[in-house]
Symmetry: C2
Subunit: 503 residues, 2 copies
């Protein structure tokens, strides 16, 4: 077999796996949007079966030989050529899959929908005890996964690498420490400021239907293409890529809090633009498929915060918001509204947290996840440990587990090791946005005119179309000229909030 034929065969195998994965994505989307409750057992069986088939394809005999054949050839000489990237990514997936028993992969897929359904009920009833057995199962399966995959220092490394190729727990801890060291004084300064923001403006009544219409308008304005995507509601906001031309986002509306749906919308639109902006030339290949969740989150957090909490953004959108919600906002000035959406105060809820305290929420989850996985933290002790961490980092104790350790759905989905990508995403976003401002003349003046296309196009060319060509840290370096670094984020927060709070 020629290296070229072997390479084509590898791509064909990848496409089969990708089709199975995309079917799972639709089943997963449906599960949390429209599936009737009684469908969950069948859904668990469907997902387990497809995951098993995917495992079968991904570990099929001969794949290793094909890889070895191509890896020895000239096809991969240029490390960032499509062939080399595709082979690198197929190799990474292969090495991971061959270490995992099919039964484990099936069981993880089977447990997730059942755990998610129980989580949604437990959340509603603020009852951790009813979720605990499912978290036990989930953690046990992930621990088994980490042991199968192997690791040098900590089992957490094994899981982390799936979400963020090349990331290491110790590096992230260092980065987080440095970030926290800088944010703590900023947070103290803000707490000491005499300026008080009219945050309660956002907690007035915002009718859900009008929130939805406003969300649709904003999504379109930012460039989300509804011919190739949808917006639905779900118990927790998310985005998912079903296939080329089909990217779906979902948010949750709170009639008594504007920010809950709207900033989640901007976040998920950010994920969506990343997917919709992918290079059609590499569609259906590993190169065309993002491999870094940190980069994915960087886009979500960039559109949510660096764009969506900016004054220019609201210069354009606030008159529209006022028209949509005259009862709530009719008498509120743009200035007061802008300050309200940038109100900084430690709170209990991650997705509603301001930019300054947000990473503390990630820190809490990161610490607890590591302890859960290593076995240092028994599942039964999660609520107490969560509350203690909240007290320590945020100075607050959740009144119940719905506002505490049950608030996020990630663990129920089996996502352990995912949370750090939010903070990495925040760092990347700050670096990328600084660069965009330098390179795009009048960027924020454009926002004030409703022009978000210039930013989208810049990001599309620099990031979205790159797919998996580079690992995230190399892409950030190549685009911004600097390695991933916490200082641009700290600096941007310092500048912004010094002004907001008159520090």
């Amino acid at each position: 077999m020629t290296p070229d034929a072997a390479y084509q065969e590898l791509l064909r195998c990848y496409q089969e796996e990708a089709l199975l994965e995309s079917c799972q994505a639709l089943l997963g989307w449906d599960e949390v949007t429209y599936m009737p409750p009684g469908g969950v057992a069948a859904r668990a069986n469907q997902l387990a079966y497809l995951a098993g088939l995917q495992h079968e394809k991904a570990t099929s005999k001969g794949l290793g030989d094909l890889l070895a054949l191509v890896e020895k050839s000239d096809l991969v000489k240029d490390a960032v050529s499509p062939a080399a990237v595709n082979v690198r990514e197929i190799r990474r997936a292969y090495e991971r899959f061959v270490k995992l028993p099919r039964k484990l992969v099936e069981e993880q897929a089977r447990i997730a929908p059942l755990a998610q359904q129980q989580w949604a009920t437990s959340l509603q009833e603020a009852d951790f005890a009813s979720f605990a057995p499912w978290l036990e199962k989930t953690v046990a399966l992930r621990r088994q996964e980490a042991e199968c995959l192997g690791y040098k220092k900590t089992p957490y490394d094994a899981l982390l690498d799936y979400y963020e190729p090349g990331a290491r727990t110790a590096d992230i801890a260092r980065l987080f420490d440095a970030l926290q060291a800088e944010l703590t004084p900023l947070l103290s300064a803000i707490a000491g400021s005499r300026r008080r923001r009219k945050f309660a403006i956002l907690k007035r009544h915002f009718p859900v239907e009008r929130q939805h219409a406003f969300a649709m308008e904003a999504a379109v304005a930012l460039g989300f293409d509804f011919e190739r995507g949808r917006l639905d509601t779900s118990v927790h906001a998310f985005s998912t890529h079903i296939g080329p031309g089909d990217c779906r986002i979902a948010i949750r509306y709170n009639p008594n809090f504007f920010s809950e749906a709207f900033f989640a919308l901007l976040h998920e639109v950010g994920h969506g633009l990343y997917e919709q902006g992918a290079d059609p030339e590499h569609e259906g290949t590993p190169l065309g498929t993002p491999n870094s969740l940190a980069l994915h989150e960087s886009q979500a957090r960039l559109w949510e915060n660096l764009v969506g909490r900016g004054l220019s953004f609201w210069k354009y959108f606030y008159p529209r918001a006022r028209q949509a919600f005259p009862e709530a906002l009719g008498k509120v000035s743009l200035g007061d509204f802008y300050l309200a959406v940038n109100h900084v105060e430690p709170s209990l809820n991650r997705v509603q947290a301001d930019e300054v305290t947000y990473n503390l929420h990630i820190w809490i989850r990161f610490e607890l996840e590591k302890a859960l996985l290593s076995g240092d933290l028994p599942v039964a002790d999660v609520p107490a440990a969560w509350n203690e961490a909240c007290k320590k980092y945020l100075g607050l104790v959740p009144p119940n587990d719905a506002e505490g350790c049950l608030q996020d759905g990630h663990w129920s989905e089996g996502l352990i090791g995912y949370f750090p990508t939010y903070t990495l995403g925040n760092l990347f976003a700050a670096q990328l946005f600084d660069k965009a401002r330098l390179e795009i003349a009048g960027l924020e003046d454009g926002f004030a005119q409703g022009n978000f296309a210039a930013l989208f196009e810049w990001l599309r060319d620099k990031i979205y179309r790159q797919g998996s060509r580079y690992f995230s840290k190399d892409l950030v370096l190549s685009v911004t000229g600097a390695a991933p670094d916490h200082r641009p984020l700290v600096e941007s927060l310092r500048v912004k909030y010094s002004e907001v709070y008159g520090l």
Copy 2:
């Protein structure tokens, strides 16, 4: 291998196929409810891939040997025992699949979503020419399928057997002829009646949201379980079985015609009750899975017409309808409303047709399908042939193809050979309903009180829980004591409409 082990292995294979089929069902449901237009190409690939996998499983080496082994054993001695029925149905599916090339099955699955999307556009634009190439492809693939499957008299037989095991084109033609011979004089008598019904009542304004609420109320009252099902909207009404505990129906609302959504709702609820009433003991086996579409349609048509167009039904529901639509119905009496929903008049639309003329619409499709498949009717001539048949059987000519040959989505889905099951279903429904009335004391008085459970339970025991145990004609015989027959339908229509029209 023991026969018992072989039998267990057959069931396991069946379950794998059933899982793949259920994933295709969800992909298909999503395709016509929520999928963004841009997702269709990826959806076509997903469906083709899963259909190919299913083919692979269904024709896997050794399946024939397993079947032969079990078929020679005592396991199948009692022809209606679960084992015998399961083996019979697995054999039927196997014989069908091994005759079909995988490529054909994949291509049919790939074409269907593309054809359906084009059909929806062509329907909207009343433009047959844009749909014609897709109908060409669809017919060509079905013709190829019929040739692969083989047949004695006509290729239509080969397709028909899939929807209605054991049915033959010639038998259906005879049945239809007999039915038509009896309905023609009834229709003439009705046309000659001086009584004119206030049909226009139903064409007043019925706000869509309230139609939806009313539909939900009716579905619940009839026994549709929303814990194990959903109701959505789609360009054409349908029901689908995603898996145990997950049965979905969809209808289309017309703000200016009450019947369009409501009677479609009753129809789809009928399908849904059949699925939801299945015997949990045989879940996931061929026995637990209905094999006759005629029986399925009999349940849809029974709830739609024999229940839903009955006076007792409206004694219960009309006060509720009047409350839901006070503007349209506030001044309309129950009597006038009952007569309006039983207005008989040849019309152009199948799903809106009254009970007396409905089967003429099926006849038109049956004739055209046969001619399409045999090649006697070129696709380009479909509109003319359709219009001519409408003129002949209904005395009307469609003003455009949207109201003519584009009105049904079946052909775009690849369903050729399905239509006759509606008329067979009408016959079965009349026979079964006659029997239910004899066996359930005060059946229709119960309807007037909102009690539909007695009928549901009777049908559940007699029909729904039987699954595929019997072929439909044997089940009808065993439940009613008579073979399938057109006379009970004719008689029930004659009695009802003699009263309605004072004949």
